[in-house]
Symmetry: C2
Subunit: 371 residues, 2 copies
């Protein structure tokens, strides 16, 4: 028997207008789980893929890698999850589970990693294109699903699964598992979708959180998020006063050209400038600025399973919340347009209106398993 169809918001071709359509669901594997998507965040990366900016997209495309939902069915080998569990999914849909990266919970760096919506995944049912969370339902391997801890709002979980773990990863890498930031000073450059989460995470570790932004207009807001103070990056004196003060600078700006030399001097010896966003243009820096101060420049592609679990627990414990704007799945184009315009404050989240979510959840509660 052929698999049923799943309703989703799909893009037929690069830069096309999306619309509600349907794709044939992959066959159920022993390690698969079905979930009904309740919310799915929209990340700037989704827009890059919709537009095929990085030449890696495949169409028809169902984007979305900031996913939260409820388990509606589990494969025969799935012991860790049960029907009704609230689960989240991020960027990685499959990895080899054997390499050093996978063993260390850094499956986002596995050489055989498969991303949520532009790679194929393979199991005993064959090889199938994986589809993202702009969908009403998903069928995916349980090993890339994370139980959502109590205390997190459902519509907040999605943005944590990509934006959240992306900025959490360098902080944990700097501070270690204790996440004790006392005595450290960590800067956050760019107060948008990533930066407004980074400031919250940093300040909750006990580190001094410093916001770096053009002008002073976000000063009150960044203090609300936990910043000790804001440095106006257009003020040369303020910038110079901040030279050599940072253990880490988390760069949360994206697109355009990143003026690396302007920001390197902020970092202390043995400190780290860490890229969470990706500029459009290649990055150029003066080697002397790096070498003479013993600075490192690094970057990370979201986080792996260890960071994701720790991040969800940390966010739940400390009440870290993305600031979001909600749109129905069927109006994903409105969210995308605000992301393109740079007017989203600060993360877009889709709410599944493609199927009757309430009915499904009620049925789940009553012991009726859909699909």
């Amino acid at each position: 028997m052929a698999s049923p169809y799943t309703v989703a918001y799909m893009f037929p071709d690069a830069k096309s207008v999306g619309s509600v359509s349907a794709f044939r669901t992959k066959p159920m594997a022993k390690t698969d789980v079905d979930l009904i998507v309740t919310y799915c965040g929209v990340c700037h990366t989704d827009v890059h893929f919709i537009d095929n900016d990085w030449g890696m997209s495949r169409y028809p495309l169902v984007p979305g890698h900031e996913i939260v939902g409820h388990v509606t069915r589990v494969g025969t080998e799935v012991k860790e999850l049960k029907v009704g569990d609230q689960v989240a999914m991020g960027c990685v849909a499959q990895s080899c589970y054997k390499c050093e990266c996978c063993q260390k919970g850094r499956d986002n760096l596995c050489a055989d990693r498969r991303f949520t919506y532009f790679h194929d995944t393979t199991d005993e049912t064959g090889t199938h294109r994986h589809m993202g969370g702009f969908s009403s339902f998903m069928r995916t391997d349980y090993r890339k699903l994370y139980k959502v801890p109590r205390g997190l709002e459902q519509n907040h979980v999605g943005p944590l699964m990509c934006a959240g773990v992306t900025v959490f990863e360098p902080i944990r890498n700097l501070l270690g598992d204790s996440l004790d930031g006392k005595g450290k000073t960590i800067g956050v450059l760019g107060i948008g979708g990533l930066g407004h989460l980074a400031l919250q995470f940093v300040s909750k570790t006990g580190a001094t959180a410093v916001a770096f932004s053009r002008g002073k207009k976000k000063e009150e807001f960044t203090k609300f998020l936990g910043a000790s103070y804001l440095v106006d990056t257009t003020n040369a004196d303020a910038m110079q006063a901040a030279y050599g003060t940072l253990d880490q600078l988390i760069v949360c700006t994206s697109g355009g050209t990143f003026e690396c030399d302007k920001f390197l001097p902020l970092v202390k010896p043995f400190g780290n400038m860490h890229l969470c966003g990706i500029p459009d243009a290649p990055i150029t820096f003066t080697a002397q600025l790096l070498v003479f101060s013993r600075i490192s420049i690094s970057g990370n592609p979201t986080g792996g399973s260890t960071d994701t679990k720790l991040m969800l627990e940390f966010a739940a414990k400390h009440g870290i919340e993305p600031i979001i704007e909600e749109f129905p799945h069927s109006k994903a184009h409105e969210a995308i347009q605000k992301i393109r315009d740079g007017t989203i404050r600060f993360r877009a989240v889709l709410k599944n209106d493609l199927v009757d979510v309430e009915e499904t959840l009620t049925a789940l509660n009553n012991g009726y398993v859909k699909l």
Copy 2:
């Protein structure tokens, strides 16, 4: 009473021809030590300073920061050294001794560090320009002198004090104080003055040392230095086969343009590309290569006191030796010309012929203290 003069090979002005001349020695401070220079290495950085390439030079200039000699006199507060001790000196002549960097033995990164021949140092006798090791004698603070362990040839010590510690520093930073490289793979790009030492250090840690060089002509030589194999960087297939294999790539090339994107893919996730040499042009890289593989780019300006001590011990224990060409101090210009031409194999070392070193050392042995 005015201080005596010291004979040295000096440069009167930028890009000038040097000659043997003399400068007035600074007054003796309580923490000063006098030493007779036996040998002094010539580093490419010396040539940059002779030419004022970096706009930081001051003339008349006495270069030289790879110094070894014997103590001929100690200041009233010096307990750690005595007349006759063989001592070495590197790039740093003074630091604050109080900051976090100094406390951690990273005095090369102290914000108030003073380099051996282009900064002033300050003590109770006032502020004086510090002069380098192209000199016959030196008067300098004992806290930046290192006892030379048994087992090192005198004429080998100089190059270890800059080139040696520069490449040792990232290795220790990667492996920790144990310097146990077992299971790690470390690449060395550029087999010259820095690279031929880096390969020796890497292989003696037990790590797999991989040489990266243009063509195969250095293959036998790099194996002699400890490399497990050589990758020809002009061979695209060989390079691709090496992608993702390195825990660290130590970049020992200098000058020109560094093709960062060509070498970033060699590094494993959470691995490190480390710059020991400085290219002339700013470095440009594609952010995705760094971010998607979770790589860091770093660099270091020589090493601090902790690394210097550990490096000297490690080199003595494992028989690590620079390959040198010797020139008399009075013919420093010949060494400089070979460095400019890129024909030096692999480090130039000056032997002090400006004064009668034998006579002084004999006098020292007989208990007669010069100066």
